[in-house]
């Protein structure tokens, strides 16, 4: 299974002195180790910021299925689509399962694995000078 849609991986910018912050400040980048996440209240919205293999992604903490606490769920891998009854485990560390009903979402794109028309809301992320900003 290959990811479809745009990958919302963060961009790294060097801030210019005196310039406004590139987005809403979320946390320091070293607060989130690979495989981990923080959940922050940003602009009145609960947002999860995830570190997947050193890259940062932001998703709204609200599942598009039933409004559950998406970002409180476990980060896992899953079985990849296969045609011959084999179990191929993959996408390790790249899947977020909603804390309520366990629906699977690709962290990088917000795409729901069972229903590609369904997407979790993602936000672009900017890392600047060791700080993580979310563009909302």
């Amino acid at each position: 299974m290959t990811p479809t849609g745009s990958d919302a991986r963060e961009s790294v910018v060097t801030p210019v002195a005196g310039e406004d912050a590139p987005g809403v400040y979320a946390c320091r980048s070293d607060e989130i180790q690979p495989g981990e996440r923080v959940i922050r209240e940003l602009n009145g919205r609960s947002v999860g910021i995830f570190n997947v293999d050193g890259h940062y992604y932001a998703l709204r903490n609200r599942c598009p299925h039933e409004g559950g606490a998406l970002c409180h769920g476990p980060v896992t891998g899953t079985t990849l689509a296969s045609t011959d009854h084999r179990f191929v485990y993959g996408m390790a560390g790249r899947i977020l399962r909603c804390a309520w009903h366990g629906w699977e979402f690709e962290i990088a794109t917000g795409r729901c694995l069972a229903d590609p028309r369904l997407r979790a809301k993602t936000y672009p992320v900017v890392v600047a000078d060791g700080a993580i900003y979310v563009l909302m």
Binding site: E66, G67, G68, A69, H72, G73, P74, R97, A99, W100, H101, G102
Partner: protein
């Protein structure tokens, strides 16, 4: 405000029951074999293991422990969050006593679970009401337990698992119905107990996968509905109400259509039944909504539910803190039914007084539930 008819309060370890067990059974729990290690509850597990665990992963208490074991978290995530007027607690593993071969052990564990419920949960918050769990494979012991606790003001129903050795209308279970009728308590069958001595959770033999099995376990509900009606349980005890919890709802109209048609032809088999099965069901059977079926077009669900007078027969439930939780703010109930389904049907069934908070709520807020 809502009344939530399926909430799971849990122990984190079965050892919490030690102080509520009689000496011999305490010794058994302390020193005997347990199915899942030291803290596990004696029961035969269903043969389908949930590949992600069974709980909402955001419902684990901060200090550790089983989801549903921490009242403060339940209050934050459910009672306060959704403005719950009453939550009907069903315990969690307690109903699994029905899977045990030893009826004496099963009833001893049920008694301990009930005393734990009363001591640890009732009286803690006026919104909490409890269920009396009984071991159906010990009908006389179950009846005794219903009479022991039936007058407790906070224990509002009897509960058993939907998995059973025989369908619940069978005369072997009549001591349970008799006691419940005497104590004026509804009897609920909650999805579960699909293992051990309850060997027939589905008619074809066991499905293979958890999601496959979970979708099919409404079959037990079908069997109990047909049996209770056909055996004339509600004719014998006209005050009785039966509640199916978490067994699905959209299948019921089709089953009742079939029962009606067959009864018309062969009513002579059950001469005690002098009216349509669907009429009996409307009066005596209630179903909790969660997990409410989710067709693409909600009108298809609603037209099915109209056929069972869903406005009066459905009881809203979340199933907190389990993985298939339904959110009252998003559940697809026809707007005109919401006040009855989300609150008033349960109030009538369990004879719950209007709470002080509900009485104080403005009329507009109440009708929007």
């Amino acid at each position: 405000m809502i009344i939530d008819c399926d909430v799971h309060n849990s122990w984190s370890s079965s050892r919490e029951l030690l102080g509520y067990l009689e000496p011999y059974w305490r010794d058994v729990l302390e020193r005997g074999e347990l199915p899942g290690g030291r803290d596990s509850f004696p029961h035969a597990h269903r043969p389908w293991l949930h590949p992600e665990g069974f709980m909402r992963t955001d419902a684990v208490p901060a200090g550790g422990g089983t989801p549903g074991s921490d009242y403060e978290l339940m209050r934050a995530q459910l009672l306060d969050r959704y403005d719950v007027e009453y939550a009907i607690l069903g315990g969690d593993e307690g109903i699994e006593v029905s899977t045990l071969a030893n009826p004496h052990l099963a009833s001893a564990l049920a008694r301990a679970a009930n005393d734990w419920m009363v001591q640890e949960w009732m009286g803690r918050d006026p919104r909490l009401k409890g269920s009396i769990v009984v071991a159906p494979q010990d009908p006389s012991g179950a009846a005794e337990e219903i009479r022991r606790l039936g007058e407790h003001p906070d224990m509002v129903q009897v509960i058993v698992s939907s998995g059973s050795q025989r369908p619940y209308g069978d005369p072997v279970y009549w001591p349970i119905w008799e006691a419940a009728a005497e104590m004026e308590l509804p009897v609920a069958a909650h999805l579960g107990g699909q293992g051990g001595v309850n060997a027939n959770p589905t008619g074809t033999g066991p499905p293979s996968f958890f999601w496959e099995a979970h979708a099919l376990l409404c079959e037990t509900g079908m069997g109990h509905v047909a049996s209770l009606i056909a055996q004339g349980v509600f004719e014998k005890w006209p005050g009785l109400r039966f509640v199916l919890i978490e067994c699905g709802v959209a299948w019921l109209p089709a089953i009742l259509w079939r029962l009606d048609a067959d009864w018309k032809a062969l009513r002579k088999e059950t001469p005690w039944l002098d009216r349509l099965p669907s009429d009996v069901a409307r009066e005596h059977i209630r179903l909790t909504t969660q997990p409410l079926e989710q067709p693409k077009d909600v009108r298809h669900l609603w037209s099915a539910l109209e056929a069972i007078d869903g406005e009066r027969t459905l009881l809203f439930a979340t199933d907190y803190p389990h993985w298939d939780f339904d959110d009252p703010e998003r559940v697809r109930i026809p707007p005109a039914w919401r006040e009855r389904v989300l609150r008033e049907n349960a109030r009538e069934l369990y004879r719950l007084p209007q709470s002080a908070a509900e009485a104080a709520a403005p009329e507009t807020q109440r009708s929007s539930a």
